[in-house]
């Protein structure tokens, strides 16, 4: 193979893009896709309305941050995975169905850059969606809050926007872990019906299956009492729930049994994210 300059045809001279530039190009394309997708914007607006609505119905605007976290935790355990799956289940499948994955294969962009770029772009959209919804609720609580002592006396000394900020960050992290699963699904399947089917299976597994498996393991003695806190970290949902309870509710109350290992739960979410993206890279590159 010769070493001639990478310029032919039109005579245009060009510097080969760096790995970072390739990654950025894919990220920008994904962010624009998310911003221009009306269905995703509608989903974001719905999430915001639900979060604000739950906070309002639960008197969170006057009760304070901590009661709102308690009110929002269970609904978000259900809603965040659904929104994350919606953001990611067609992310790579769409390119594959249009033949653009084949076309992209003729460009100097690797499967890893493509998957990470797609994930990062969608992750920005999802993170903003979740953060805006919770930030609006937080602002409403800050503006409309009464003296928290009257409503939530036992927690009054610890209620703080910092707790809500932790809750926001952890909810985003949970969403990003599920988004990685969705991107993996979109890379593995080849038709929309399969993507939808696998997404439903993933949602059932994430929302119910893993927790049931842990309960079964506990009941059968497969999981010991001492291992429970770490076993919970294996389920993204349990890891998220445990992290929120450990870093907000229990911190605020200053008492109560340990419900999770924060470090193990964080590691669990990271492993789900990294392993899912690895599957996606493998699927695109095969």
């Amino acid at each position: 193979m010769s070493d001639s300059s990478p310029s032919t045809g039109s005579g245009r001279s060009r510097a080969p893009p760096t790995r970072r530039r390739l990654f950025e190009a894919v990220v920008v394309r994904e962010v624009r896709t998310v911003v221009r997708a009306r269905s995703l914007l509608l989903l974001a607006a719905t999430l915001t309305a639900v979060v604000v609505g739950i906070t309002w119905i639960g008197d969170g605007f006057t009760a304070g941050y901590l009661p709102s976290i308690v009110d929002l935790l269970t609904p978000l355990e259900l809603l965040v995975p659904i929104v994350a799956i919606a953001f990611g289940y067609r992310a790579i499948l769409g390119d594959q169905q249009r033949g653009e994955l084949d076309v992209l294969e003729t460009y100097p962009v690797s499967a890893r850059e493509l998957v990470l770029g797609v994930y990062a772009g969608r992750a920005i959209g999802l993170a903003v969606t979740i953060a805006v919804a919770l930030a609006i609720a937080a602002i409403a609580i800050a503006v409309g809050g009464d003296d928290p002592v009257r409503v939530y006396a036992s927690h009054s000394g610890a209620d703080s926007p910092i707790l809500f900020a932790r809750f926001l960050v952890l909810t985003v992290l949970f969403g990003l872990a599920v988004l990685a699963v969705a991107v993996a699904i979109s890379a593995v399947v080849s038709v929309t019906r399969s993507a939808l089917g696998l997404s439903v299976v993933a949602l059932v597994a994430l929302l119910v299956g893993f927790d049931l498996a842990i309960v079964y393991g506990l009941a059968e003695g497969i999981v010991g009492d001492a291992d429970l806190l770490y076993t919970l970290a294996a389920s993204p949902l349990s890891a998220y729930r445990g992290l929120v309870l450990e870093t907000t509710v229990i911190v605020a109350s200053g008492t109560g049994p340990r419900v999770a290992s924060p470090v193990a739960s964080l590691v669990g979410l990271v492993i789900w994210t990294v392993a899912s993206l690895a599957v996606a890279v493998w699927a695109v590159g095969r």
Binding site: M1, S2, D3, S4, S5, P6, S7, T8, G9, S10, R12, R14, A15, P16, P17, R21, L22, A25, V28, R29, R32, T33, R36, A37, G94, D95, R98, G99, E100, D102, V103, L104, E105, T106, Y107, P108, V109
Partner: protein, 251 residues
């Protein structure tokens, strides 16, 4: 330069040697050897289902051959092979300019490059039109513009003139000839034998997964003492040309 002028024989820039491709138990390509010259338009012709798209995908590096090899001997380029799929489509919600700018950014092109590529295919006026608002023919032209981004030394076009009106079909083949004139190896498939006869420097006739004849269209025609490429095609293809032969099923 719009019509072909046979360039001098050179070393192939891309060389398929004894290529087999199987899908499970079905053999789609068998022992295909095809040298692709730079400075030339190489055309694959053959009936539907004869393996043209599979061979083009193997040549473009998108499919691994199950036997044999494809060797690239061209210059070291940012993008070695450009590719137009048989049914090009682009991510909805973006304009033509944005779409080509994205692909251009993957090879280090500046923001003005998309317009040059669109001008080449006669579609500059549609630069700001959403890709999902293009006709099938216009989408194919954008696909051809995409295939040439990065000035790849080899451009593989799967039925580039399909769905285009006669004027645009001719224009597409003129583009292919012009690309060949600038040193690009163009490999394409088409059923428009009249246009191929005028523009292709090399033609390979594919039948049932194997190349049954190959060479300069005029040489092939003269060798078989026939007066047109269509007559050559009908002579070379075995079986009933009115029936689609399904490989692995039709005997």
């Amino acid at each position: 330069m719009s019509e072909r002028q046979t360039p001098p024989a050179t070393e192939p820039i891309l060389h398929a040697q004894n290529v087999d491709r199987e899908y499970g138990s079905i053999s789609v390509l068998e022992g295909v050897t095809l040298p692709i010259r730079a400075d030339a338009v190489t055309a694959l012709i053959g009936p539907n289902g004869s393996g043209k798209t599979t061979l083009l995908r193997v040549l473009a590096g998108l499919l691994e051959p199950t036997g044999g090899s494809v060797t690239y001997r061209g210059p070291d380029a940012t993008r070695r092979i450009g590719y137009l799929p048989q049914q090009p489509a682009f991510r909805p919600g973006f304009t033509v300019r944005e779409t080509l700018r994205f692909y251009g950014s993957l090879v280090g092109d500046d923001d003005e490059a998309p317009i040059e590529h669109l001008e080449r295919v006669g579609l500059a006026d549609a630069a700001d039109r959403p890709v999902d608002a293009l006709s099938g023919g216009m989408t194919r032209l954008v696909g051809i513009a995409q295939a040439t981004i990065g000035d790849p030394p080899v451009v593989v076009l799967d039925e580039p003139a399909s769905g285009l009106d006669p004027g645009m079909s001719t224009h597409v083949f003129e583009i292919a000839t012009e690309l060949a004139g600038t040193g690009t190896a163009v490999v394409l498939s088409s059923h428009d034998l009249e246009l191929l006869e005028r523009h292709a420097h090399e033609v390979a006739i594919l039948d049932d997964g194997a190349i049954v004849d190959r060479g300069d269209p005029v040489d092939v025609r003269n060798r078989l003492e026939l007066d047109s490429l269509r007559a050559v095609y009908e002579e070379a293809i075995s079986g009933d040309t009115r029936t689609v032969r399904v490989q692995g099923v039709t005997t």
